[in-house]
């Protein structure tokens, strides 16, 4: 179980690194926004990243 978690963790880091430029863009976008738009964008970014990382194996 721990091995599996560790493998997923390593894979998640790789995937996040693959998304580096996109994440930079989204963070900049979030910082450019204000009010409700900023909150929605920030939350959507985090949730989508979470789903993306959880579904690594499913997508492969």
């Amino acid at each position: 179980m721990i091995k599996k978690l560790w493998a997923w963790f390593v894979e998640a880091i790789k995937e996040t690194l693959n998304l580096s430029w996109t994440l930079v863009g989204l963070i900049i976008a979030t910082l450019t926004l204000t009010g409700s738009a900023r909150q929605i964008t920030g939350l959507a970014t985090i949730i989508t990243l979470g789903i993306w990382l959880i579904t690594i194996k499913f997508r492969k």
């Binding site: 996109t22 976008a29 450019t32 204000t34 738009a37 909150q39 920030g42 939350l43």
Partner: protein, 575 residues
């Protein structure tokens, strides 16, 4: 994997996300008194909003003795309705209290609150009874000797859940006509219900109205009249006839009824060709008739257009104006206009139609000249020399000399901002720091008191912030709720001066800078510090200024496009 999914499913608190009851009672209540004015203010905390029928208003039941029920106490209904997790306040004036109580000094004031949604015919349970011992001071010592307690509708006129009898539709088979009997069965896990009231016998209500609804006599009670049931029933019948929906006006406005939009009727023009029978089979003859028809069709167009002389006068006038502008701005000559006109002519008028060409040319020239004249207003950029800036700065300093920020008036604020607008905020780098600080304070003052400003004054404030007039109000609201925007306004002048060499530096840039600094200080908080109160799908982005939206678009759109392009490239490589 399956077990993990099961565990996740069990972990998610599904009931928490579900609606609690149709209409929830208030989540909190409090009472404060103003012992000088002799008023009582009841605070009502709105629910979390997870309900089908959020309160349209609240009824406060109150009395001088405990055991409050809906029938043994006085009551008032608020004009405000639901706001998620937000405190709202109802104030009893001194006169109100004198009306309900002979004397209040040192007495107990008991109250409980009920939430009402009249549209959906739904009410909550009463909140737990609260008690407050009123201050034994002069302001609450009424000592009324000839006072008598209000009774009947004077004492309490709340919204009452209707339990009307079913009226069978006389002419239609629409099942929606039947009104359901609604009972007060709502409960909540957050607020304990009030102690059960002693059994009381409610006298039958007087039947006073006899109205025909859909051809059937329907009787109403006094309560029905008071709470608007009669009016709503009339609206329902009217809307049944009009839209086929047995609903109130409020429900129709809410969009509960599916009303098909009426499409505009197209005009059908039938052209009867009289020449058909007269035409012979000879080709030459047909050609002649066609040519005649063309001339006949074109002539009326020429007559309908603006007379030539008038057009000439207008064009001359406009050309004169244009010539004056041209001297100042040095715009390119009208040659471009002629080229455009020619192009348009080729596109619009196929064939050699000389009469129409002349007409269209004049019209197009007119339009084009007007457009050309409008341009200079936007193009003019007033660039001041160093000497002029120095003079203007001196004028700003002169105006500021007499100003005390704590006592500054709106007129003074606007005067200072107008002076600053003359030179531009970024040119304040030539002024002393003290002047910059005063200007900053003045700008903040203007934003704080935006409600008191006239339209012209708002325009002045908008100019100093380099935003649109409508955005000033948005900024004023955002300052109250968003720390980042508040800080940006606070530091606007200082940062604008520091970025004097940056073109088109606006408040939106300051906001972005402040957010960037906050992100560097605490990256996680930027994404985690969320407050979705009052946010709906429809109003996302409404609290952003136009300038901010444009600057955000410049970032967001390229990010999305880049991502799409990289995905496409990846798919292309794989295939």
């Amino acid at each position: 994997m399956l077990r993990l999914l099961l565990a996740l499913f069990l972990l998610i608190p599904m009931p928490v996300l579900a609606d609690h009851v149709p209409t929830q009672p208030a989540y909190g209540q409090d009472l404060t008194t103003d012992n000088n004015a002799g008023t009582i203010t009841i605070g009502i905390l709105g629910s979390d909003g997870w309900e089908d029928s959020p309160p349209e208003n609240y009824t406060i039941f109150f009395s001088g003795s405990s055991g409050i029920t809906e029938t043994n106490s006085f009551c008032v209904t608020t004009s405000f309705g639901h706001q998620t997790n937000t405190w709202q306040y109802y104030t009893f004036s001194n006169d109100d209290l004198k009306y309900y109580f002979a004397d209040l000094a040192g007495k107990n004031f008991y109250f409980a609150i009920r939430s009402n949604n009249e549209t959906d015919n739904s009410v909550s349970t009463l909140t737990t009874e609260s008690v407050y011992n009123i201050y034994a001071g002069v302001s609450f010592e009424f000592n009324q000797t000839d006072w008598s307690a209000p009774t009947g509708t004077d004492a309490c006129n709340p919204y009452v859940v209707t339990t009307t009898t079913t009226v069978a539709p006389a002419t239609t088979e629409d099942a929606a006509v039947e009104e359901e009997v609604v009972e007060e069965t709502t409960t909540t896990s957050t607020t304990l219900p009030p102690p059960p009231p002693p059994p009381t016998t409610i006298p039958p209500e007087e039947i006073i109205v006899d109205v025909k609804v859909e051809g059937v006599d329907k009787t109403y009670t006094q309560a029905d009249v008071n709470d608007g049931t009669v009016d709503r029933d009339k609206e329902r019948v009217a809307n049944q006839d009009k839209y086929g929906c047995y609903m109130t006006d409020a429900q129709i406005e809410r969009g509960d009824c599916n009303i098909p939009e009426e499409e505009p009727k197209e005009e059908v023009i039938i052209v009867v060709d009289d020449t058909k029978e007269e035409l012979s089979n000879d080709d030459d003859m047909v050609l002649e008739v066609e040519l005649q028809d063309e001339v006949e069709e074109l002539e009326p167009i020429k007559e309908e257009d603006t007379p030539k002389e008038e057009v000439k006068i207008d064009v001359e006038k406009l050309e004169e104006e244009f010539a004056i502008e041209e001297e100042v701005i040095e715009l390119p000559e009208i040659i471009i206009v002629e080229e455009i006109v020619e192009d348009e002519l080729y596109e619009e008028i196929p064939g050699d139609d000389i009469i129409r060409e002349e007409t269209v040319q004049e019209e197009d020239v007119q339009d084009q000249v007007v457009q050309e004249i409008e341009v200079p207003e936007k193009v003019i950029v007033k660039e001041l020399t160093e000497e002029e800036v120095a003079i203007e700065v001196a004028e700003v300093e002169e105006v500021i000399e007499d100003i005390v920020i704590e006592e500054v008036t709106i007129e003074e604020v606007i005067e200072v901002i107008e002076q600053v607008n003359d030179i531009g905020v970024q040119n304040l780098d030539q002024a002393t720091e003290e002047v910059q600080e005063v200007v900053q304070a003045v700008v903040e003052e203007a934003i704080e008191n935006v409600e008191e400003l006239t339209e012209e004054q708002v325009a002045v404030v908008a100019e100093v912030l380099q935003v649109e007039e409508d955005d000033v109000e948005i900024i004023a609201e955002a300052v109250k709720e968003d720390e980042v925007v508040a800080k940006a306004v606070e530091e606007y002048v200082e940062r604008a001066v520091k970025n004097a060499d940056v073109e088109n530096y606006t408040l939106a840039d300051v906001v972005t800078e402040v957010q960037y600094e906050a992100f560097l200080e605490n990256p996680i908080e930027t994404f985690v510090d969320l407050d979705f109160e009052g946010i709906t799908i429809n109003n996302i982005g409404d609290d952003m200024t136009q300038d901010q939206k444009e600057k955000a678009q410049e970032v967001v759109v390229p990010v999305i496009l880049t991502r799409i392009a990289s995905m496409a490239a990846f798919i292309f490589r794989r295939s």
